[in-house]
Symmetry: C2
Subunit: 425 residues, 2 copies
């Protein structure tokens, strides 16, 4: 189906709302000369492929995980609060348009006119909305730089929970794949739709921000809804069987969404996003016996059932003895990451498999781009990762090479923009 230039009447978004807002850097008049040729009515299927952009929480967190990912992290170069806020407002309008299947700006398929640069780069013109979600987060140094400078007057609003992660045992972090000041997670069922969205946001940010690092994820791992089957990571195992599911509202409220009383009021309804680029040493892994692989993970490879059980969703039995020691090894990944082991802690995982060419040593550079959302990384992700980093039998086969943490603001009401609860005085 084609994208059309009119937003009115689609996905509950009023065109007036878009055009009426400030901050978009292109004229609403002078609609593209080609708009008439590109327009076509939205199909029912396409409409159902739209994830609403405005809601109590940001989309892309408990949204059933889409198949593909493009994740981008920006450094901020402007020192002007007004310019940053303007960009966030522009991004919001563009994000709302693109997630509903439209071009990045309300100027038809092509742009503001023949003698201006197109206001949309065009590569998604013929593609469906593909359940695109765009989720924004703010890194620690956006609030206060390493040398203590409060560029944007928001240092006093920095949440206590937003702080660079500690160094974990075995970390081999590449600064060029770590940190950063603004994260945008684009998830979609069509990768070109996700790439298009990031590319267009980066495009209008030129001068104010630049891409610090980005990561393509070709296949989802963890499901985030009971409606989804569990997918496999590049170890070949089902990943995320015990993940928090969107339908478990109490668990989501307890472990994902920041509550009003937690910390900074502007984060109420938000979450914290942790990314870890986990390189898998797939060649040694592939030469390991099935027995060892299953011992390391603590599940059977075929069905994903816990050791000693029959089906994937059977209970994880951490108490019983097996033929040689505990049924689930004391250093098995599932044991160390389990709520039982961690005093009840859970996190919402949302990772993607990646393969980024070869590593220059004859191997594929492949692994898991781990994404987690939690209410407080310091009391959820950090103790979990400390336990895994020290004891996980899987450490022999993986290496954490990238790391970042971001404060993810709440969802948007009708008049909000990305970060409006933070920047509203």
């Amino acid at each position: 189906m084609s994208r059309d230039r009119e937003t009115a009447g689609r996905g509950g978004i009023s065109r007036r709302g878009l055009i009426g807002s400030a901050g978009i850097g292109v004229a609403a008049a002078g609609a593209g000369v080609l708009a008439g040729r590109m327009s076509s009515p939205a199909s029912a299927a396409a409409a159902s492929a739209v994830v609403p952009f405005r809601a109590v929480n940001q989309a892309g967190i408990v949204t059933p995980a889409q198949d593909r990912l493009h994740f981008a992290v920006f450094d901020v170069h402007t020192r002007s609060r007004a310019e940053l806020v303007d960009l966030l407002k522009t991004w919001t309008l563009m994000a709302e348009r693109m997630t509903s299947g439209h071009e990045a700006a309300p100027n038809g398929a092509i742009g503001a006119g023949t003698y201006k640069p197109p206001t949309d780069t065009g590569e998604a013109l013929d593609l469906s909305p593909s359940r695109l979600t765009l989720t924004i987060g703010f890194g620690p140094s956006l609030f206060t730089t390493a040398d203590g400078v409060d560029r944007f007057g928001i240092a006093s609003r920095k949440p206590k929970a937003l702080t660079d992660l500690p160094k974990f045992t075995g970390d081999a972090l590449d600064p060029a794949r770590s940190g950063g000041e603004i994260a945008i997670q684009a998830c979609a069922d069509d990768p070109q739709v996700a790439v298009h969205a990031i590319r267009n946001l980066a495009r209008v940010g030129f001068g104010a921000v630049s891409v610090r690092w980005s990561q393509l994820g070709f296949g989802r791992t963890s499901s985030t809804s009971t409606s989804q089957v569990t997918a496999r990571n590049l170890l070949g195992f089902k990943d995320g069987t015990r993940n928090i599911k969107a339908e478990e509202h109490d668990t989501v409220d307890k472990f994902v969404w920041v509550d009003r009383g937690d910390d900074q009021a502007w984060m109420a309804g938000g979450s914290y996003l942790v990314t870890r680029r986990i390189r898998m040493l797939i060649e040694p892994w592939d030469r390991t016996t099935l027995h060892e692989q299953e011992r390391v993970i603590g599940r059977t490879k075929g069905t994903g059932a816990p050791m000693g059980a029959k089906d994937e969703f059977d209970e994880l039995d951490l108490q019983s003895a097996g033929p040689s020691g505990p049924l689930v090894d004391k250093n098995a990944h599932v044991r160390l990451a389990s709520a039982e082991e961690l005093g009840g802690i859970q996190i919402l995982r949302r990772g993607y498999n990646f393969t980024d060419g070869s590593d220059g040593f004859g191997h594929l550079d492949a692994g898991l781009f781990f994404i987690a959302y939690c209410r407080n990384p310091l009391t959820q992700f950090v103790p979990m990762q400390e336990n895994l980093a020290r004891n996980d039998a899987l450490n022999e086969y993986i290496k954490h090479v990238g790391s970042a943490v971001f404060a993810v603001p709440p969802g948007l009401g009708a008049d909000d923009y990305w970060g409006s609860t933070l920047f509203a005085s």
Copy 2:
């Protein structure tokens, strides 16, 4: 749908045929302990998603271009012809199995037994065949190394048409993304299926070959069949409107398939594969006016129609004058790449869009992984690229950073393996 461990009765492949062949490095007996749990009947939809592996020509060339690509190039380390031939036989059996939706080896879902490494890495166990094709090609240095050594006794069989490409004007080639001795192109509608296939072929090649470079393509550009809509590249333009289509049998025979009398007999029914990693300088491109973009390409951005025409497939008018000079600029990309300009030359394009993180300078590392098949690169690709490299207005916005050429042997009969026409004495 689940993959099952039996190949009999699916896709026309007999299980006996697989097990009876030599060279597969795993035991056919002792089928995986979990096989029973993994089995499920193939659905009609899945069956239709299988592209036959054995045919007159290799699949993955005129096959309607799948959505996703994983392309890998190997260097060969063994100096033993027997070991290389054994690997090619093993790869053939694995490729045939995987393209029909099975695990890499006939040992059930998991492998040869609990105390052996799994014979399939597992990450595609629950996925459909996804129209996976695996296409092999041999680079110039497989026949004779740079210092003239004939490692495998095939120097006399090196086709004249298989020679390193000349340096073109503007080439900025990275040796780490160029050349190589064996190429395997994996195309599939599900990227995880393509990645899984390459990963498993690399796995069993350990010791004999290693990955020199690999490239993920997230979205197809050129269509190769009249049944497909034209897709867009990251310039935002429809790409490959005038591409050779599978249904144009005479054109395919003339420009894609090597004829018996052309050169080496073992290449009859084969083709030559040229890859170019073309980085797009998307940031300057995105700041260019629509007018300039359309002049550079020679088509309108919205519909893809040639300049002055109305619809995508309208005739390209290279003669008429426009408001200021020729309707189609004299340096427009479509003009310079046209058969009209090149004395009738055509090639079959099969490229993919890529985005590989950022370039360390604040930009996305994005572009087109160009793939072309032709009957003779020296008389087709080389003159075309010479013309483009010298004159194409697009050169301001692109940079060729990787290059390779491979001889692609013909398709496989019932008893053939990859390269059997080359290695049969």
